[in-house]
Symmetry: D2
Subunit: 388 residues, 4 copies
């Protein structure tokens, strides 16, 4: 089958943890499900441990394995750099890649500090490459649909917002001290890891930005067994203990540019909640509500319906006209966690092909980092309202 004009897009992925698996699955799946304007070549996977990265390459189907990301970024036979390393390394890799003219897809968080994030955003603005940030939940069809409804005015003026991201994998005090619990690698704990998702989602859904915040972050279990083996998200620990240097829980309130208050919670201590991301946007004409545990459903309330007939309507967002559903299964057949990564690849490749700027941009990511930094600042300043 010959398609001369559409040169394949040659992708290098830096990193090979849990996110590497998800991104690999997306690069492999998106072209088989959607009609992409470019073919995909999974060219190189990069990691520091030679054996581990070779094994990941074989497992996930990358043509080559490499250990030096700088060399890879400098190669001129690659088009895309996909960054799935921990947050502290994002800035250096992304900026180098953008300067090398590459298109960059970067996992969230954009960076661990506002300064790094700002430099990355500046690099993205100054580059010919397409830069896109991986706040994947924006591309869960029910949430994309929610954004559309809100943008169309279906819930009227946004008057109140709440969002919580709750997990419980740290309730066990013996859960090991993984990189996600060290500030120098992970950034800001529950706030940065999952709170960032909640912040981005609220800003995405409302089309507004948080302008000021008040909140508290806290570490509940202050010392944990040092990790001896990295296994899945939690790892295994040994006899030695080390300090947890990130927060376990973050509770904060923000004010949106449109004036509404938004209540946030991010926690890894919500016993029994495995991966529950909820968001509810209350407006003058209606509301939407979503729970990641029922990720194919959107709850929609219409205040303009007749009295006595109002209620939350549970829409199963799996119908032909729903976002991204053209590629998948018949109505009522559920999508899962990783599907949104394929949607992300689709939109990223589409943007590369037509030269448009996909969202979330690096500027969007820097804004989220500013919000998170302001929460940390507020927490340190007696919870005072702190400008973003």
């Amino acid at each position: 089958m010959s398609e001369p004009v559409r040169a394949p897009l040659r992708v290098a992925m830096i990193g090979y943890g849990f996110m590497g698996a998800a991104h690999s699955q997306a690069w492999r799946t998106a072209p088989r499900v959607f009609d992409l304007p470019r073919d995909i070549e999974m060219s190189v996977i990069v990691g520091r441990n030679e054996d581990a990265v070779a094994s990941a390459a074989a497992k996930w189907g990358w043509a080559e394995a490499a250990t030096d990301w700088r060399e890879v970024v400098a190669r001129d036979d690659l088009d895309v750099i996909d960054i799935v390393t921990p947050g502290h390394s994002h800035d250096e890799i992304a900026i180098a890649a953008l300067e090398a003219g590459k298109h960059v897809l970067c996992e969230k968080p954009l960076a661990n500090t506002v300064e790094d994030a700002d430099r990355m955003a500046a690099a993205a603005r100054g580059s010919d490459g397409v830069a896109m940030l991986g706040f994947t939940y924006r591309r869960v069809p029910a949430l994309t649909r929610a954004r559309d409804l809100i943008a169309e005015g279906r819930i009227g003026t946004v008057q109140q917002v709440r969002s919580a991201y709750r997990q419980d994998w740290l309730v066990d005090p013996e859960a090991p001290l993984s990189w996600r619990l060290k500030k120098d690698e992970a950034g800001a704990g529950s706030l940065g890891d999952i709170g960032g998702h909640a912040v981005d989602l609220v800003q995405f859904l409302t089309g507004q930005q948080l302008t000021t915040v008040s909140g508290v972050i806290e570490t509940i279990v202050k010392q944990r067994p040092v990790e001896t083996e990295r296994v899945g998200i939690a790892g295994k620990g040994g006899d030695e203990y080390g300090d947890v240097t990130v927060d376990d829980v973050a509770i904060f309130t923000g004010r949106l540019s449109g004036g509404a208050l938004a209540a946030f919670e991010a926690t890894r201590f919500a016993t029994g909640r495995k991966n529950e991301l909820t968001v509810e946007i209350s407006g003058s004409a209606g509301a939407i509500a979503f729970n990641l545990e029922s990720m194919n459903e959107l709850q929609v309330y219409d205040r303009t319906a007749p009295d006595g007939e109002q209620g939350f309507t549970r829409v199963i967002v799996t119908e032909p006209g729903h976002p991204y559903l053209e590629g998948w299964w018949p109505t009522g057949h559920m999508l899962g966690y990783e599907h949104a990564f394929s949607h992300q690849v689709k939109d990223f490749v589409d943007a590369i092909a037509d030269g448009s700027a996909p969202t979330p941009t690096f500027d969007d990511g820097a804004q989220v980092q500013r919000v998170l930094a302001a929460v940390e600042e507020s927490s340190a300043a007696d919870a005072r309202w702190t400008a973003v």
Copy 2:
């Protein structure tokens, strides 16, 4: 105070709004459902409007109607004063009644100010009468059961708490300016009306007190049509507009005496949420979760269950051994909103009969008022942490 055996308890109720209906139903029902140690006589109902109170007496089955609460409180042929007036009048009536040696059941909030609440609590401590506060939700069987489980250590150490009380009856900007929206009568709006329930519930369930808070309260719709007719909870409005002087929404965080953070939300602007009170207590060994919209159910999570078998167990709290269920229907037959008022009457009458002090006490109520006052203070002070 000595009572001849099984002399009937002669009750006067001051007030006749929505709460008057609920209390009347409870005084009428409790002795027919439970084996009370005293018979009940619904002797007098008191209200300022002579016709309206006479009509309420006939409708609800009170033997007499009266218009002057002071005269009623002074009568020596009455044993109990049940106060269901708006919060600003509670202190005067309750203190007079306690000084007259009466037993007092007082609707929440205890008072509109901490000062009033403290004086009432002092009066209660100094009186021979039994004093009890109407935070009725404590007596929803699922919540009573939750408290028992937590007290037995079933969820271990409380590590994180969240509670929200959400309604939407003020989303309509033309909803009238009822007494509930005027600070001089109602106290503190969403914070005082429904936020108080959330605070009491969390303190009740955990057995702990909030020691410091940070938060924000806000009025979203600042002017509303002046109420021309009092109909149900919302009333009817006219052409004239007046200032809303209480908050529409309150979002705050508190620290419990045991150290855990607790996130609260009270709002009348949660579009589509009619009367949703949720509470979740996350502990080191388990969790409980409750939603008033499914008020007969308690969700219980047990971290000590085998791996792979853990999950929230939905217990329908309608079984013979469950709290208060001895008086009602077979397993699986649901209780409604007003049943908790009958449970309240039962416990109040039991306490009178055996001379014990029922909870919530007036001191409990004063503590809640101190929390709410601290939230208001924090809101006015840039959301700073404020000691209760």
Copy 3:
């Protein structure tokens, strides 16, 4: 307060089990909640055990206790006979009462046999008294509302129906052999006790009758300990065993007069289901779904809504315009099991006052018995389709 023209309605209740408690509560509550056209006098309660009935009278507030229902029915100072005895005695009492010119409210089932039911229905048609049958669930507001929506054509043509009433109180093989498990007293077991509710509900909601049925009934545990003490719905058993003579489970399919198939299940062996009555009516233009475990909610599906926006809307049926809600609490405050009994008293008293014929009629009850008898007949005939 004098109201000479409205002579009070003097009520005698025959029976004093679980249903006696529910009916007493309703007679006591309805006039306090609704504006009834007649006052209610709870005059006499009747039971064979003199002590027990005296105790019930005192507990539930009946002015007199009596042991001979024939004498009571013959008295001319009574207006209403309320029958809450087991089904085998309904015909004799109801017919005597109707012949004595009394108004009769009769608990379901109307009778234990079609013959008895037909004689009762004939007696009702020939009497000046108002006769009404106690299929109470028709008066759960969400179900009354569902009937109205269907009658208005909101779901189009009924195309398919399912209803199941599932309990689990007999899963324990040692649950005692109560009167509910003896055919001569109770009639037809799960089929007659709870299956009858499902049949009535489907006929009520659709406005159609079942014309033919096919099904199976079965006794899973064939011998149980003879009941030594009647406690609640289940009682206590001894060492002796006796034969269970009614069915434990009934599964059957019927065809409605409009042509649609309806699938039914009635069981006391649905482990974990305490009192779950579900019904779903699927139509050409929409659907309604209901679950008694969430009895204040009605799920409504509208096929005429725009593509991509359809879903089941969860309407909390507690709003001012909803059926029977004028008497109760503000929006979102839940009703429980026994509220429907007060609604039943309201409609019964209204019908007496205005001389109308309330539903369900005794003819409706006889039709349900014919359906149940046809199911038994079908079960005995190899599940063959059997005309009702």
Copy 4:
């Protein structure tokens, strides 16, 4: 059949509809997610329409496209024949493939008639190739887990069963007459298409077989627009009408070999239900319940838990120790519809590698066909109980 170590497994897939997409995704994904004992080569895709199959090959990543399945089955450079054509062609292809010594994975239903199914089962028993049937839902982790719990005796003796598969894509009378509505191609309509899933699932979960059935099948909309274009599951119709020759709805009851009754429903007329497969197994010691709309959750009821603490526990089946979860995401990250197809490939490849016989076998499939045929026979015979 001896395979050199790690020689890749060369797969040919016959058919390219909706199931072709799902199977392609699974062949592509399984080796990237699980540690398979053999590599996978997606060698050939076969379809009658040359252009369409070439396009499918390119889209889904098959190395070759072919139009004659007989030639493909005869090739000796292929190891596996994966059959995803409509049911009427399964027997000829599968038997040819088995006779050619190939391993065969066959989509459900095994065949459209019992005779065909029996011949296929005989061919499978007589072949060296591994034969496996695609009742994929067995490999949804929550259902695999449910089977394990039941097999371990966790719910005691199975006493009652219910399962329903409900869709609504035919409620619209103008939905076109696709091959799924023609008996000669599709077999038995709702009964064969989705009812077969319910039957297989119940037999799988209980480890028992249905021995006798009674039921009814029916076509509600008897004529539909002839399909002019095959688009997704429903297609597009023209002006001409043709007869629907399969059933729209099937309602039947069966008796399991262990004695319990099982109620079934399969319908495409359940307005508002998109793809709802529910199953509940009630036992003497507990119960399990499942709903495909919440496919990552298993509800488990334990009757041996203390009184007052029993309830359905909602287990989110996404934990490391849960079936198939070793290959996927961290706890709480949801799987979707197509994941079970990857699990199917995993088990199929494992069986090929270790020479074991995977389930469901073709004999299992023939048993399901016998059940469905007995339901049809019963329906034609006045719903009489009919031996399987």
